[in-house]
Symmetry: C2
Subunit: 226 residues, 2 copies
């Protein structure tokens, strides 16, 4: 008999690590990561703050848990596809997930031990690359390169103060341009002006860089050296 087995329908079911971590994720999503305190999370679960410590060693482990939950949302590469389509799919998925949980990218940076979902993901990506003919060395290169791009892009996106192209145009006009006098920042001023007038959408940026990287990796795919 497991300690986590149901106790009955009346009252709330007992706590479990699963429930604690899931509620923490929900709270971070709805009210921001800074609202996630042990007391507040306990409250959300109709429990005292100290009760949480029976299911999670400390807050660090709780954060590890929600980061891994976020990781689990990223689609694994479909390995029957050709490798480029598979890598594109999982990169696009990763970006979507990280845009949905903007606080996650910050958390990931401060965590050292990868969780199970993280490991599973890396395994699937490596498998896909190796089956496509990448050497171990080249697969490692591709992994670092693609992950760096995806995480870096997500990090930059997370620190943008606007959500879509429309908001961007307004913001450039009202906030950025006034801070970019043409004498001091001629090129940035020029770019901001131009981009505001055209139909520029930063969301398209991701596709450009991703395609460029995938194309270039294809050229190096079977080379033994680098």
């Amino acid at each position: 008999m497991d300690a986590n087995s149901e106790r009955g329908a009346e009252a709330s079911t007992p706590l479990s690590r699963e429930k604690v971590v899931r509620q923490a994720l929900a709270l971070a999503d709805s009210e921001g990561i800074e609202a996630l305190s042990m007391r507040r999370l306990g409250q959300e679960l109709n429990a005292g703050a100290m009760s949480l410590y029976h299911h999670v060693r400390n807050k660090e482990e709780l954060l590890d848990g929600i980061v891994d939950l976020v990781f689990a949302e990223i689609e694994l590469p479909e390995s029957q596809d050709d490798w480029r389509a598979a890598m594109r799919g999982r990169a696009v998925s990763a970006r979507e997930v990280l845009a949905r949980h903007p606080w996650a990218i910050t958390l990931m940076a401060s965590r050292t031990a990868p969780g199970p979902a993280n490991l599973r993901h890396h395994e699937a990506v490596t498998a896909c690359l190796r089956r496509a003919g990448f050497s171990i060395r080249m697969a490692t290169h591709a992994n670092w390169l693609l992950d760096s791009y995806v995480y870096g892009f997500a990090l930059q996106e997370a620190s943008l103060p606007f959500a879509d192209a429309e908001e961007l145009a307004d913001m450039i006009h009202e906030v950025f341009l006034p801070q970019l006098p043409p004498e001091e920042y001629p090129y940035l001023n020029e770019s901001a002006t131009e981009l505001m007038q055209s139909d520029y959408d930063p969301a398209d940026e991701f596709t450009y860089g991703l395609s460029l990287i995938l194309h270039a990796l294809e050229r190096d795919r079977l080379s033994a050296k680098p």
Copy 2:
């Protein structure tokens, strides 16, 4: 007469925004970002915690300040070089700086308003690209791509628990491989085993991806479309 002028050699010179932010940077470097509290910083400056608030609006602004100081350490691109050498130089410099201040990458992600050093840097990079013949659109692509790569790489590096190739080999043997049973993670296990035996150094990874991106950007440099 300025309020920040020297008061004499005896006792410590008076506080200033400059001194406060610099000492904060020093403290974050020497004892980690989590040791940087207002009380502790005041102590470090022979001052009370509340005195700092006369030079900095709040802690957020203090963090903005030290992030911008870190930014100022990054070398600007030498625009008389050919553009690839210039971009390589500033990317390598950025990686070095972010590796020297591993906590900075986390902070950057949570800050929305770019500081003056950040703006100056972006201006110089954009100038270099535009003078090399990049269109505004292409220069924006290149900016996003290169920055994403550099920040993403730094972010991954910052969450690695080892410092050099030697430590890595030990760590793979003692920590990673035991967590990667070949039945569950055949490919990761294979990679870890292989890399441990060869002279693999993650520091070389940065060069590979950077060269690939610069090479591919050169091909797109004069294309009008994307």
